[in-house]
């Protein structure tokens, strides 16, 4: 509510200054695909900023505020989907071009698209036309972390893009992230089998280890915002030492009163280890 009043007051002030400084143009609709894409990005970003601004002032302990936030999120989601759909049309028109790449890259840089029909098409187009684009690295980081689940419509398209990037992309960081995404699938399969106590759990864990070792060997020192080497080492440690049935590695540290102690001090007792934080 507070914002609405503020908006109304500002709106009046802006209307006055616009009348003074900004003579209306005859036709200011964007023309080229690049201009159209820029307008789509700007509109979507504005809708997102507006959504966050309003939601920030809501109280998540009040039911009516939570309902309002959900409603606003749905509205924003629809605007964002419309933006993705419009960007996809630009990409479809010329998927090999720079603007085609920009449109696909913008869409796929947002993990939400992986679960939308437009995202599936964008993944397919990117795999065919842009897998060798070195500018794809940040998007591969996103996709590598958030490969759509096997049950998702876009899963196969995502895997195809990751594979194509590992094979064709000249940028080693892009290849590293794509390889991380593919090895991550083996890790997920192993974790799911462990959870279900499936008969092939050990086989799948061994397969994941093999893939991670290959990623570590090939890309362990590739750098980038996310260190693929650290990622692979962490996953390998978990597979080798932290599966059900393994003796837990010891922890030696200090408690919150700075008294040193070890996890193994509690041997002989049933222990729950809880990684927690008060946030």
């Amino acid at each position: 509510m507070r914002r609405w009043f503020l908006g109304a007051a500002l709106g009046l002030a802006l209307a006055v200054s616009a009348a003074a400084d900004d003579p209306p143009k005859k036709d200011d609709a964007p023309k080229t695909p690049a201009e159209r894409l820029a307008a789509i990005k700007k509109e979507t970003a504005a809708a997102q900023a507006e959504f966050y601004k309003v939601v920030r002032d809501l109280d998540d302990k009040k039911k009516e505020d939570v309902e309002k936030a959900e409603k606003l999120y749905k509205e924003f989601g629809k605007k964002q989907e419309a933006g993705f759909a419009a960007a996809l049309e630009i990409a479809k028109a010329d998927p090999k071009s720079d603007v085609g790449f920009d449109a696909l890259n913008w869409m796929l840089g947002n993990q939400r698209t992986y679960y939308l029909p437009a995202g599936k098409t964008a993944l397919e187009l990117a795999a065919v036309h842009q897998a060798a684009n070195p500018k794809l690295a940040p998007t591969m980081r996103m996709l590598g972390y958030f490969v759509p689940h096997e049950s998702a419509d876009s899963h196969a398209a995502a895997v195809a893009l990751l594979k194509a990037v590992t094979e064709k992309n000249p940028n080693r960081v892009a290849r590293a992230y794509a390889a991380m995404g593919l090895a991550g699938l083996a890790v997920r399969r192993s974790a799911a089998a462990d959870f279900k106590k499936a008969a092939d759990a050990d086989k799948l864990a061994a397969a994941a280890e093999t893939e991670l070792e290959a990623v570590l060997k090939e890309y362990g020192d590739s750098g980038g915002t996310v260190d693929v080497g650290d990622w692979a080492k962490g996953q390998l440690f978990e597979l080798r030492n932290l599966r059900v049935g393994k003796v837990a590695p010891d922890i030696a540290g200090e408690d919150l009163d700075e008294v040193k102690f070890k996890l193994s001090d509690y041997r002989g007792k049933v222990v729950v280890i809880d990684f927690w934080g008060d946030w």
Binding site: D255, R267, D274
Partner: protein
């Protein structure tokens, strides 16, 4: 999770059981105040000033909070990421198994 963990610790206070936290708050003083308010009595390792990027969670490859492990009395990992009722059931199963041996 606090209410459930509190009741589990209370319920099993005479049993061979321990709840050990690995806490990833950066501000220890603020945390201690919160622990008094929430009556959190169990012992925790402190993950250090880097918070969730601290050495223990890094070594254990923890990327989501909370993450839980349940170990039997021999130190073997028996359950991962069980919470609330499932955690209680897992602990009771292991206590029973221990008493049976």
């Amino acid at each position: 999770m606090y209410p459930h963990e509190r009741s589990l610790v209370e319920k099993l206070k005479d049993k061979p059981f321990a709840l050990i936290g690995v806490n990833s708050d950066r501000d220890k003083a603020k945390l201690k105040k919160r622990m008094e308010e929430e009556k959190i009595t169990w012992r925790s390792f402190w993950n250090g000033p880097e918070g969730t990027g601290g050495p223990i969670s890094k070594k254990w490859n923890v990327h989501g909070w909370p993450t839980t492990y349940v170990l039997d009395h021999k130190g073997v990992i028996r359950f991962k990421n069980v919470r609330d009722e499932k955690m209680e059931k897992a602990v009771e199963e292991l206590l029973k198994e221990m008493e049976g041996n």
